[in-house]
Symmetry: D2
Subunit: 141 residues, 4 copies
């Protein structure tokens, strides 16, 4: 799967002259939304069929600063897929090939009623699509 | 009415070392929300009684930069009050008494059905409250 | 010149279910930065040669809401080019061809010393490039 | 030490009707900046004396959604204080006493030259002040 590309905007920088750390959390969402679109389960469509997917937790390691005008490539993999949850991994790389950040986020799957969805039963197509992109130990992220 | 105070956050600065200009638009909203709360018609409550108030237009003059840690005082007045619209004026001043920005925003009043509300008829209490804060030529904003 | 495209992100929406109005100000910057890059005077490069260009004022008309996943095309023209200032115009259109917003922004040209630049004298190449994209009455924006 | 209070703004909500998860990362910064101010080592002042403190990593657990108008109390403690690093802990509580989020962030201490600062040696006053707020096992965060 091709990487998601984010071009760093002026408004994302701070007075240190680099990208403010909060923006990487937004890039994770951009890349996740793009990933779902590429596997043909766009987030918009998921919301329409009644699946809500709140962020439960996240963690991020900042390795290298990013600068205005940089183009950051973001790779997304499914780290773990459970009954009503998934964990997503992200690797962000600049044009020089440097890792600028590595991160993970956990997401619940809820029905619009607020009850947990059983992904395999309630959305088998999405389940299968996510499974295809499940990270295996052999890969290097 | 006491001014709304906004304390400038680090994440609001950009690589020029000053507040990014897009944040002032958010401060206008903060001050407007605070103003409505002070006249006892909180925006949250307005949404609950079925009044939607989209921003129709805005303009802003940036007079002086703001910096991390600055406390900006924002005065709000109703510039114009029409059947289904209002125009709000803002004056933003730093602790040194310098005007950092002056701006205006126009807002529609819609019923949750999407049809324009007739403010005086549909929400007479809000209409009266806004009228009290209508800018008169004699005042200096 | 090809339009700049902005894809609407989830984090740009608000509880009304549409794009928060403050984001359009950021898209104006994105489109302006892209425009400068296309005429081969990237903003990054301008800062490196000692030209600072603060936003002096802006105004915007919101015509139609935007939604998560929308792709907004933004056309940029130079409305006015003065000795130490320019006024930029923007037209934002969604995929259905609806104008979502029209706006303008004014920008000063300063030397890093803080003194106004005389664009034609100090940066003749940039001056010529901007002149090429000066809006003429015959065009429709 | 009194908690930092953040009032939830309209522009911080998303189309789910709740606060977008990226904003909590900004609230951590707000609370951290406020904490440093309360111990009389404001971040602004630190930058002036040549101490730079980039965010190295962070993690956050989202426990309960926040809504427009909520007032979130944020408690800050120093979890760990090393030669050139610290780890900060945050607990965010709404007015109903519910924990909305718990998080941690790690920060480096660099001299403006880019070399790691030895906090105890280079900024002994700051070191002592931080030590006073070091989390002890007996406390409950």
């Amino acid at each position: 799967m091709t990487s998601y590309k984010h071009k760093v905007q002026y408004y994302e920088t701070d007075k240190m002259g680099i990208v403010h750390h909060s923006n990487y959390i937004r890039w994770m969402e951009e890349a996740r939304v793009d990933f779902l679109e590429k596997i043909e389960w766009s987030y918009d469509q998921l919301e329409k069929v009644g699946l809500v997917s709140p962020v439960l937790s996240l963690d991020i390691d900042y390795r290298h600063p990013s600068f205005f005008g940089d183009v950051i490539s973001i790779d997304v993999v499914i780290m773990e897929l459970k009954m009503s949850k998934m964990r997503v991994g992200y690797k962000m790389i600049n044009r020089e090939g440097e890792i600028v950040a590595k991160s993970e986020s956990s997401h619940g799957f809820l029905l619009s009623s607020g009850r947990p969805a059983i992904l395999k039963r309630d959305f088998p197509g999405l389940y299968e699509a996510l499974l295809t992109h499940l990270y295996s130990e052999k890969e290097s992220i």
